[in-house]
């Protein structure tokens, strides 16, 4: 005899309906946040085309023409390949590059919100997860998640890798970690929390599953290494990425952070917008400290701190506001600050106001 109630329990349609009901609020915040960004972009530059400017142009060039290192000049090997790969694939079905870029970024951001919520709930509980996800959806610099940039893809991959590891789905964790590292160099740092989870669970896993678990750490490194290897094939120069970075004014040195601080007055004189990145860096560090108070795992805090601080060693504060968006603990820290109802409401209102203001700056300053 078949138990009818058991059949109903495993019905995939009712399961997905229930999942949809549980997560509808996330879709609403995603829609609301993105509507704010699109409206602010359209109001500030009379079109949403502003969302496909700055580095988005370089990603489009990679997708349409491939990599080309112009010696001593700013050129496209500075940009990692996964996002241009997605761009080219979506363009292949007949969608223009600009539309494809913005569509990929926004859809990936919805995936990022869902994965980030699941990760946060596993680590820090439901209430904090919900607040953190809302803050992520309306974060002031989060307009980048709607631009033709890879940030939303990377955040989705980082969060997916983290939650997959916590749920013991190591194959998925490996794929997501490799994807994160192939989309942006910061993505490789997801290897650290994966390593800690794999180490903590090593005695409960069979040798093969343990191998896949530790392999997910190596997958992040493998994804990262695939890019210089590819550059060696097409440009005959595996170091083309770092050469292009130098032309963009980034050169990693042990004293880079000191140089970044020393050169701050000159940087401010030539570009006032650097203030925004300095303020973002300070905010991110404070939010990481708040995340530590919230009980965030040390491996994730270390990953977040590395994502925020490492770019300073290239000798510049430029774009750290954008890079820090890839550090999940930043939003956990914000959610910990918002545990009081009044503070929570204030944070939401201020975030939305700042998101509108920040989006309006897109035509004037690169994120």
């Amino acid at each position: 005899m078949i138990d009818a109630s058991a059949v109903e329990r495993v019905d995939p349609f009712s399961a997905s309906r229930a999942w949809g009901h549980r997560h509808a609020w996330m879709l609403a915040w995603w829609l609301g946040g993105r509507a704010v960004v699109f409206a602010a972009a359209a109001a500030s530059s009379r079109s949403v085309g502003a969302l496909h400017t700055w580095d988005a142009r370089w990603y489009r060039i990679v997708a349409s023409d491939g990599y080309l290192l112009v010696p001593g000049r700013q050129s496209d090997p500075a940009f990692f390949p996964l996002y241009p790969v997605l761009l080219r694939e979506v363009h292949g079905i007949g969608i223009g590059y600009a539309t494809a870029g913005v569509a990929i970024a926004n859809v990936a951001f919805l995936v990022a919100l869902v994965a980030f919520h699941a990760l946060t709930r596993e680590l820090l509980g439901s209430a904090l997860a919900r607040r953190a996800t809302v803050y992520l959806a309306i974060f002031p610099l989060g307009y980048v998640f709607s631009m033709g940039y890879p940030e939303s893809v990377v955040l989705a991959a980082i969060a997916l890798a983290g939650v997959a590891a916590l749920r013991g789905r190591w194959g998925l964790a490996a794929a997501a970690a490799a994807g994160a590292a192939l989309a942006r160099p910061d993505g490789v740092f997801v290897a650290l929390p994966l390593l800690v989870v794999a180490w903590q669970r090593r005695s409960r896993l069979t040798p093969v599953r343990r191998g896949v678990a530790f392999g997910s750490v190596l997958a992040a490194v493998g994804g990262f290494a695939a890019y210089p290897l590819y550059l060696d094939r097409v440009l005959h120069d595996p170091t083309a990425w770092s050469k292009a970075e130098r032309a963009w004014g980034r050169r990693f040195t042990p004293l880079g952070a000191v140089h970044a601080l020393q050169h701050l007055p000159q940087a401010f004189a030539s570009d006032h917008w650097v203030v925004r990145d300095v303020a973002a860096t300070i905010c991110y560090l404070l939010l990481l400290a708040a995340a530590a108070r919230a009980g965030a795992p040390r491996a994730w805090l270390a990953t977040g701190a590395t994502i925020v601080v490492l770019p300073l060693f290239s000798g510049s504060f430029a774009s750290i506001g954008r890079f820090g968006l890839l550090a999940p603990p930043v939003f956990w820290g914000l959610a910990w600050l918002g545990r009081d109802r009044k503070v929570d409401r204030s944070l939401r209102v201020v975030s939305i106001a700042l998101l509108i203001a920040a989006t309006a700056t897109v035509p004037f300053a690169f994120p």
């Binding site: 023409d65 080309l68 112009v70 010696p71 992040a220």
Partner: protein
């Protein structure tokens, strides 16, 4: 011990798979940069190695002039183009201000490496439409034509080493053509 070896082998296999998959996706999906773009970049690399050039150049319908261009100290660092009509054009390496359009065109046509490199790089960075063809300019040449709006910068390169042998400029403001030969100083 055996389980440790299995774990290590599986971990390594997953890492290698990620590397191979990443590489394969890039190779399968992303296009190679066009031949003309690569030839132009190779020309920049060649130019960077040369400090002296002799040329014959003609601006608009003016007389054909002989030019000698060198990069060095005069006494400030920069590029000096000396033309057979007695005129001298100096472009300081330190100055931020660009020379006027005609002087800039003469420096490019004269094979002055820094200016020609900049002109090529700017075209590539601005997403110029690059076309290649073959031509005969006393010897076989690869012609790389870079169009940005109404302006076209054309390079005549040796087909295998991509050494610039000539330049043509065509824009609403200034036009001209030249033959270049790099010499050891």
């Amino acid at each position: 011990m055996r389980s440790l070896a299995v774990t290590g082998l599986v971990a390594a296999a997953v890492g290698v798979c990620a590397l191979a998959a990443g590489w394969s996706v890039e190779a399968a999906v992303l296009p190679s940069s066009p031949h003309g773009d690569r030839a132009a970049v190779d020309a920049i690399v060649v130019l960077d190695r040369h400090r002296f050039a002799v040329s014959t150049l003609q601006l608009e319908d003016g007389p054909t002039l002989r030019g000698r261009c060198s990069r060095g100290w005069f006494p400030a660092p920069g590029t000096l183009l000396t033309l057979s009509d007695g005129s001298r054009i100096f472009e300081s390496a330190r100055a931020n201000a660009a020379p006027n359009l005609v002087a800039a065109a003469e420096l490019v046509l004269g094979g002055c490496s820094r200016m020609l490199e900049s002109a090529i790089a700017r075209s590539l960075q601005d997403g110029a439409t690059v076309r290649t063809s073959r031509a005969w300019v006393g010897r076989p040449a690869l012609v790389v034509s870079m169009r940005r709006g109404p302006s076209v910068l054309t390079l005549y390169l040796t087909p295998s080493a991509f050494i610039p042998m000539g330049v043509a400029l065509d824009s609403p403001f200034v036009s001209g053509r030249s033959r270049i030969r790099f010499v050891r100083g």
